[in-house]
């Protein structure tokens, strides 16, 4: 039991947001406290708070300075942040299909060479992992996952690519991630999923929530193509294992 938790730092982010910082490094315990504070604020909203943005090690709390000032909000946040972290709420668990390697994951071969193993072994280790959505940020639906095996960690590329495909599943440092939109990335590209973590005209528009549990499942290129068509038509494609 965590009897006393160290207080987070309250960092002003201008006059309309406070970063509640639990750690300066990527730290699973800190991320759990971030998500716990986020849940606490969702269940008992503080008047004047407009939205919250959970990240690895801090919760950014946006607020309206006409309704509440930095000092009063800071006190409320400190009090909430020092409550014991409740036993992890039952997380939703998703299984996300990925086509690994080849044209879909152009860095898989190189990763295998660098790590002195085979592409299949990399895939086996990646699909064996039990991940959690630590944060969603950067661009719509870009989901950063914690829980990558230490043996798969790889420094980011020296030269980021200006354009990587929609649905890319990749590794950057000690993180793995699922991106939704095509965009720039300095991470190593393992494969692609047909799952859209962000899709307009679908309910829900955003599929994943911070705190969701994730596992990956290998599929072949033909299955990916079928799933891609289904996803384009609005199907979720990811399997919801528990909710």
């Amino acid at each position: 039991m965590a009897a006393t938790l160290s207080p987070p730092r309250l960092l002003p982010s201008g006059d309309s947001a406070i970063a509640v910082e639990f750690s300066r490094t990527i730290d699973d315990a800190a991320n759990r406290r971030v998500l716990a504070l986020d849940r606490a604020m969702a269940s008992e909203p503080i008047s004047g708070v407009t939205e919250t943005v959970p990240t690895y090690r801090s919760l950014l709390v946006h607020y309206d300075p006409v309704q509440i000032d930095f000092g009063s909000l800071g006190e409320k946040l400190l009090a909430l942040a020092q409550l014991p972290v409740p036993a992890a709420a039952k997380a939703r668990r998703w299984r996300i299909p990925v086509v690994y390697g080849g044209e879909h994951g152009i860095d898989l071969e190189d990763m295998a060479k660098t790590l002195n193993t085979t592409p299949d072994d990399i895939v086996a280790r990646h699909t064996a992992g039990d991940y959690r959505v630590a944060m969603i940020g950067f661009t719509p639906g870009w989901s950063y996952l914690s829980g990558l095996a230490d043996s798969l960690a790889m420094p980011r590329r020296q030269n980021p690519r200006l354009l990587t495909p929609a649905g890319t599943v990749s590794i950057g440092g000690i993180q793995t991630g699922v991106q939704c939109l095509a965009g720039p990335s300095g991470w190593h590209l393992l494969g692609r999923t047909a799952v859209r973590t962000y899709q307009l005209h679908r309910d829900p528009i955003f599929l994943l929530e911070p705190g969701d549990a994730i596992t990956f499942k290998r599929v072949d290129a033909k299955t990916f193509a079928e799933q891609d068509r289904a996803a384009e038509a609005g199907e979720i494609v990811a399997e919801l294992i528990t909710s």
Partner: protein, 351 residues
């Protein structure tokens, strides 16, 4: 129903409103007008809600033609030469374009963005409550991209209401106020002093995602990588080259560079209007002072309607008046969306 046809328009021009905050936890930028006071002033002049959608016009010229009826408009924000068929049009004033008339705008002077409000608003289909264009996310209506010549904005027919002007307080020629942090402890005291003691300029390679600043190099104490955390409008992040980037409404919602300071919300519009290449300074203030300024700014927005004045010596536009009030107010939704490939200009990646 009338419409405003874009006869010509430069880059960095798009439909913007109060934006769509609320989904930053999913990586979706809030977008919305760069200068909210100018947006609100233009809307107030034609009787729209403060943060209704306007055309945000970038630094270059533009021309708009009324079709299928008269259109009542107002201009606010960065001033420019403006005329309708040779008649000069003032900023901070409403005016009615007769069917077939063209409003021609020159380059922006003393600012970057002007706002063209149309009475009755711009017809479109909101996403998360907003028509604001966010091209990277494929959002915005009626066009999910910057405006182009030939685009049409459907709107209500002009009401024929008396034209009016609005008296705005003059924009102060004062430093842009910032609050230190959230990561000013990643910088030595002499670097923080350098930041507030130096002149800065906004680079021409800036856009609605970020303004690149040019000035003295800001060295980090512990390197330029931090663990990604959340961003706000006006975050001044300092990447490896020591030249800050101010994050603007289409920003990435998280970022992995230390943020030395944050532009206060009351000064954000004035900062966004600073023309590229013009020297300016920052001034650090306390959070309490920034919040007092935010309350003042909010009060200014709330009382904008009290600042409306009738126009004396009215130079009547008889054509426009006779066109007004001849059509109904039906506003239909338009559905035109495509997915956009991310801008290659965004050379950063996920952190």
């Amino acid at each position: 129903m009338s419409k405003l046809v874009i006869a010509s328009i430069g880059p960095a021009s798009s439909v913007q409103d109060g934006g769509r905050p609320g989904s930053q936890r999913y990586g979706l930028a809030p977008s919305g007008a760069m200068d909210r006071l100018a947006l609100a002033a233009a809307n107030t002049l034609v009787g729209n809600p403060l943060f209704a959608a306007c055309v945000e016009i970038g630094p270059f010229g533009a021309a708009f033609t009324a079709r299928d009826g008269a259109v009542r408009i107002a201009l606010a924000g960065a001033s420019r030469n403006a005329d309708i068929a040779g008649r000069a049009v003032a900023f901070d004033t409403s005016v009615t374009l007769a069917d077939g008339e063209t409003l021609t705008l020159g380059f922006a002077r003393g600012g970057s963005f002007s706002y063209l409000a149309v009475e009755g608003g711009i017809a479109g289909e909101p996403t998360f409550g907003s028509l604001a264009v966010n091209a990277r996310a494929g959002l915005g209506s009626p066009y999910p991209r910057p405006l182009q010549a030939g685009d049409e904005l459907k709107t209500a027919a002009a009401s024929g209401a008396a034209e009016q002007r609005i008296e705005l307080p003059p924009a102060p020629d004062a430093p842009i106020r910032v609050v230190w942090g959230p990561q000013d402890d990643e910088f030595a005291d002499d670097i923080k002093k350098l930041f507030v003691d130096s002149e800065w300029k906004i680079s021409a390679t800036s856009d609605r995602m970020g303004y690149r600043l040019e000035g003295p190099l800001l060295k980090h104490l512990h390197g330029h990588n931090i663990v990604s955390d959340g961003t706000v409008n006006g975050s001044l992040q300092v990447p490896g080259n020591g030249q800050p980037i101010a994050l603007m409404p289409d920003r990435n919602t998280t970022g992995g560079y230390p943020k030395i300071a944050t532009v206060i919300s009351a000064d954000f519009g004035r900062f966004a209007q600073t023309p590229a290449g013009r020297a300016f300074r920052f001034k650090a203030v306390s959070t309490a002072e920034a919040q007092a300024a935010a309350r003042q700014f909010s009060e200014l927005l709330r009382t904008l309607p009290d600042r409306l004045r009738p126009i004396e010596n009215l130079d009547l536009n008889i054509d426009a008046l006779s066109d007004a009030n001849v059509a109904g107010h039906a506003v239909s939704a338009i559905d035109a969306r495509t997915w956009q490939i991310a801008s290659p200009a965004d050379a950063s990646g996920p952190d």
